[in-house]
Subunit: 260 residues, 2 copies
């Protein structure tokens, strides 16, 4: 996977030099290395001014295991860096943004190359990293708007923790994958019941894919569900967002639009 | 189910008169009636001083749909009542306890009669409702201790909302069912990262049953997982709790021990 992504980058963005940290190749049960190994790798890249960006390799649960201990060890070089990823990596994106890091973005990861048509997703991420190309961005993102994007369950599981960023005035985009509709409903109950989340400018719903069949049928689509919770919570529902666990996943730079 | 529970109660606790609200027999997609019907039924029983207790019929997701609108409509008669249930009903148990209701308890529900050997669970609940019998209580519960009990995911999904009760100084018991080990780990990351939860006196782990196989194997038992998060968060791990989604589920009265 790393070789394919490296070849793709070399062919299209020769200005980019990719470095896959050896930790990416570790395995420790559910995780790509022990918590200590993953913390050390994260800090090594983040704190090294020679790297312009830290690109999360893939999602899958694990960021929450290292966030609390890793984030306080970030220095000035880490603050100047771009961070790009999604899914479970949202835990660290949230914590970085909560600490005021300006270069946090939600978007494709190297592991997306394993999807059918995944090269497009990887090239989009590379294009953002190299040039901040406007056509990589989620199309509703405007320079004057503050935005953030998360996997719904990932965001739910950091509500009420120090990792939760202040999203007052932000457009909050949420996507989901492989969750029952009743769980999408429950997570939206959770997220929209949080007083701080109620200060967002609005919610946009990304794609909710691979939803297992509810028994009995839930009787509501994901749009109806998010509309329900927006109405209950007084949060404006702003429509769909072009994000999701798929190759069309567009870039959402946290905060206001960064210019190249 | 209602007939079997009613017959069981009549045979063993003739002092108890059970009333199954007609809402229990409704069906609306995933739920036992619309949000409006379930809210009305909850309020009708809770606010009627003729009922000593409100016994949640069963779990399954749905309490979160009605909690925010229902709880502010509870009057003085509701405050004097006993509330008994577990699993998803924990959302309302939490909200009631957060509002200072003194009679909140985690324990078996009528639907437990459908389990093999389920009569024992139902009889335990009836014995608690009728007599506050000491042998119905979770065995670590002491009169001087403040305690509370929840399904882990249910509790996670109300963290950071107005439904979250202040559990400072409480022994917090958590049980889980049908969740992957990585999700048990993630929910414990979430719960133990909440600053208010870090003020509990300690955590006891109930049974974690029907855990689907993790691929790859998670490599840690549920006890190792909770010990990890207790160590990370500085919360004392106090051992196991005799609660779970099973017929042995003991009663945990929230707050300090109630005497008959």
């Amino acid at each position: 996977m790393a070789e394919r992504v490296t070849a793709l980058a070399a062919g299209h963005f020769p200005s980019i030099e990719l470095h896959f940290h050896p930790q990416c190749y570790l395995a420790a049960g559910h995780f790509a290395g022990s918590d200590a190994a993953r913390t050390a790798a994260f800090l090594e890249i983040a704190n090294d001014a020679a790297f312009d960006a830290l690109w999360f390799g893939r999602g899958g649960y694990g960021s929450g295991r290292i966030a609390e201990r890793a984030l306080p060890q970030l220095g000035p070089a880490a603050r100047a860096k771009t961070y790009l990823g999604y899914s479970d990596a949202g835990v660290l994106l949230a914590g970085l943004y909560a600490r005021g890091f300006p270069g946090v973005a939600h978007g494709p990861m190297p592991a997306d190359i394993n999807r059918a048509g995944g090269e497009a997703a990887v090239l989009r991420a590379l294009s953002y990293l190299a040039d901040r190309a406007a056509d990589t961005l989620e199309p509703s993102v405007r320079p004057s708007d503050k935005v953030a994007a998360f996997n719904l369950m990932t965001f739910s599981q950091l509500i009420g923790t120090p990792l939760q960023p202040d999203l007052a005035g932000h457009v909050l985009m949420l996507e989901e994958v492989s969750e029952y509709m009743y769980r999408i409903d429950r997570s939206l109950f959770h997220v929209t019941s949080n007083p701080a989340v109620r200060r967002v400018a609005g919610i946009r719903l990304g794609r909710c894919s691979a939803i297992p069949a509810n028994d009995p049928d839930f009787g509501r689509t994901e749009v109806e569900v998010v509309q329900h919770w927006c109405e209950m919570s007084g949060i404006p529902y702003l429509g769909r967002a072009d994000i999701g666990h798929d190759v069309d996943n567009k870039i959402v730079p946290f905060g206001t639009f960064p210019t190249a």
